[in-house]
């Protein structure tokens, strides 16, 4: 069953502000046809200050829809309508200590009900521009419509690109078959055929041969790129020697003697190898003195 947080359960079993507010002067009715949830939010807004004095909900929906509605009313009571409009669906989810990815749309519905109720209070007509498709990527809660739109807007043609633009498929990767199907469909619209073996983006050009000086400068540049990460953890790195494939570095500060030093070196090695487009080995400077001792 769903992995609902205790807070979700608590708001479901004991919903706050259930029922319609009497003398409401803002009413928002929204629903999601695909999953059959629907919500009516009623607000009592003080006209002079525009403060929400009271909020009530009526929800036809599942446990998280009811909990999201309850949370929303708790969050917005006492806010001005301008403050309330800044409440995002993520705020609602955070208030509930998170929602399962499949259920994030319940919090979206809450935010939309709020927009609709405020529009109603102001005498405006609220138009919904949010569309929801079948959920494709469960790791990051990305639906089909978002993927389709992103492929169209950016002329994407590989799964890797879709992951880079939308995050979809960047987790467990079990939705790649689904993403390929969407790609095939959208690419057909623009008269192309999906090629599963295509390489994403432009192919990296092989780096021209560097002189020793250029190569060392390049290594320094690359180290500079990752330095902020190390400094954030109160450490640092210093280039000591470059000997063919072997690049010797000294770990400084918190990095020195850190239990994660080996992992850090691995990360540096990967970054340098990618930046130089060649196989290299990053070694701690201590091994340099060891080698000198052996050679001496």
């Amino acid at each position: 069953m769903w992995d609902y947080s205790e807070k979700v359960q608590e708001h479901f079993f004991n919903p706050r502000n259930a029922g319609a507010v009497e003398n409401a002067n803002g009413v928002g009715d929204v629903g999601s046809l695909s999953c059959g949830d629907a919500l009516r939010l009623t607000l009592d807004v003080e006209p002079d200050t525009e403060i929400i004095l009271d909020a009530g909900f009526q929800t036809f929906g599942c446990g998280s829809a009811i909990a999201s509605s309850s949370a929303l009313t708790e969050i917005i009571k006492g806010m001005t309508i301008d403050e309330a409009l800044k409440v995002s669906n993520q705020d609602i989810a955070d208030y509930l200590d998170g929602l399962p990815p499949e259920k994030m749309h319940c919090s979206v519905m809450g935010r939309e009900a709020l927009q609709a109720a405020v529009a109603n209070y102001k005498g405006e007509e609220w138009k919904d521009d949010h569309q929801e498709g079948a959920l494709v990527c469960k790791c990051f809660a990305i639906d089909e419509i978002l993927i389709e739109d992103t492929i169209r807007a950016n002329n994407l043609s590989t799964v890797e690109e879709v992951s880079n633009y939308t995050k979809a498929g960047g987790g467990c990767s079990s939705c790649h078959e689904g993403i390929e199907e969407v790609l095939a469909r959208v690419m057909q619209e623009r008269g192309e055929t999906f090629d599963p073996n295509a390489v994403a983006g432009e192919i990296k050009k092989p780096v021209s041969k560097l002189t020793n000086i250029q190569r060392i400068k390049r290594i320094e540049e690359l180290l500079e790129e990752i330095r902020p990460n190390l400094q954030r953890d109160h450490g640092d790195v210093e280039l000591v020697e470059v000997d063919g494939r072997n690049i010797y570095v000294k770990m400084i500060g918190a990095c020195s003697g850190c239990q994660m030093a080996a992992t850090t070196l691995g990360g540096i090695q990967q970054h340098l190898a990618e930046g130089l487009s060649e196989f290299i080995q990053v070694l701690p400077a201590e091994q340099l003195s060891l080698r000198e001792a052996i050679e001496a």
């Binding site: 009715d29 009516r40 036809f60 929906g61 079948a134």
Partner: protein, 403 residues
């Protein structure tokens, strides 16, 4: 939850204690490979032979060699359909229904992408098929017909024996997914024209991970898994001997309990149904109440949503399931409820109670007591509901901007 009330037996069943006892030695002293010649293997081989007979008896099959052990109902379904396609490459059509289990539907949708044509028979508001529609589709282009014996959600029975006769006359193979039916209603396959049948152990008090494909002798077959000679080369892979022994025992017990299904189990189901319908307004039984499994009842509660009902039932220790979108992990409401044209406001509130012979009348009373207040509690939150009844003209009074 030992004190809980388990009314979700169409999802899975408790492994019967006698079945557990029977299978345990095959994890320890009886560890041999049934294919081995020596005494370690031979004893296991004999146990499998006995289990095969027990399954044969429950199905009323003519030969025990018509029983192929698989890993689950889904594997049996896939094997049956893919075999029919491989064995008759010139036939590119499949007939099935809109309300099959995903084990059939997902496979068929995939096969459509591969270029096959799938005919999905529609159902009426009570979940019944149109036999005339079926008759018109039976041509020599059809490789296989696959029709479920009983629907997992509503319990509605399809006339598979009659439909198998029609397929035979048209020279078309007939498969039935009988995962929900086996052990709940009597069957005598040797007197039917059913060519293939799928069953799943965990629906009849055997463990999960064991299934059977019944394959009538002489029906052309192409294996899904090739390899060793197990199951006469029709399903390679070393036998799951403990589970096969367990399934044999479970089938024997199910056969002895067939009368209990149609008397005691049915009586519990009927009492629950009447108890709820008489106390709760605006709810109705889905499917065909006059032609369904004795253990299943599916009630649609209007204006409230199924997952919310289940969560409140669960709090009282009562386990059931729902056709609501939100319980399935997808955002799609139950395809079975949609195929029966049940309105949205009711389809999302459909709850399935499914019994087994291990339930009791005392449990039924407790559920009848619990349900009305749960429904009332949720209706009080519903925008479609106003104190004692639905708001006037509910669809008009609350017509949200749907995204």
């Amino acid at each position: 939850m030992s004190t809980g009330i388990y009314l979700d037996n169409n999802a899975t069943t408790m492994v019967a204690p006698e079945v557990v006892e029977e299978m345990l030695p095959y994890f320890s002293e009886q560890f041999g490979n049934p294919s081995s010649l020596h005494q370690f293997g031979d004893k296991v081989g004999r146990a499998l032979k006995k289990a095969r007979k027990q399954v044969q008896a429950l199905l009323g099959a003519e030969h025990d060699s018509e029983i192929i052990f698989t890993s689950c109902g889904t594997e049996s379904d896939s094997t049956a359909i893919l075999s029919a396609l491989k064995a008759q490459p010139e036939r590119k059509e499949i007939i099935t229904t809109k309300v099959e289990h995903p084990a059939i539907l997902s496979l068929c949708e995939y096969l459509e992408k591969e270029g096959y044509t799938v005919h999905y028979l529609k159902v009426d508001k009570k979940g019944r098929l149109d036999i005339k529609e079926y008759a018109c589709l039976l041509t020599d282009k059809v490789a296989i017909v696959s029709i479920m014996w009983a629907n997992n959600e509503s319990g509605t029975l399809f006339p598979v024996e009659e439909m198998a006769d029609m397929a035979r006359s048209a020279g078309v193979m007939f498969h039935t997914d009988a995962v929900q039916a086996v052990g709940k209603i009597p069957m005598k396959l040797k007197e039917t024209c059913i060519d293939m049948l799928s069953l799943s152990g965990h629906k009849l008090h055997a463990p999960k991970g064991i299934g059977v494909l019944y394959l009538r002798r002489g029906v052309r077959f192409r294996p899904l898994l090739r390899g060793g000679h197990q199951e006469r080369g029709r399903r390679a892979g070393t036998e799951n001997s403990a589970s096969i022994v367990a399934l044999g025992k479970a089938c024997e017990m199910a056969q002895q309990a067939l009368d209990i299904e149609k008397t005691q189990v049915r009586a519990m189901r009927d009492k629950l149904e009447q108890g709820i319908l008489s106390q709760v307004s605006h709810c109705f039984v889905t499917g065909d109440p006059n032609n369904r499994l004795p253990n299943t009842c599916n009630i649609a509660f209007e204006y409230i949503e199924g997952e919310a009902i289940l969560l409140l039932l669960n709090k009282l220790g009562i386990a059931a399931s729902s056709g609501s979108a939100c319980t399935s992990g997808s955002l799609e409401p139950s395809h079975v409820m949609r195929a029966m044209d049940i309105p949205f406001t009711a389809a999302h509130g459909s709850i399935r109670f499914s019994f087994s012979r291990y339930n009791s009348m005392e449990e039924v009373d407790r559920v009848i007591e619990a349900v009305p207040s749960i429904v009332e509690q949720l209706r009080n939150l519903s925008p479609y509901w106003n104190k004692d009844g639905p708001v006037e003209d509910p669809e008009q009074a609350f017509a949200p901007a749907y995204a």
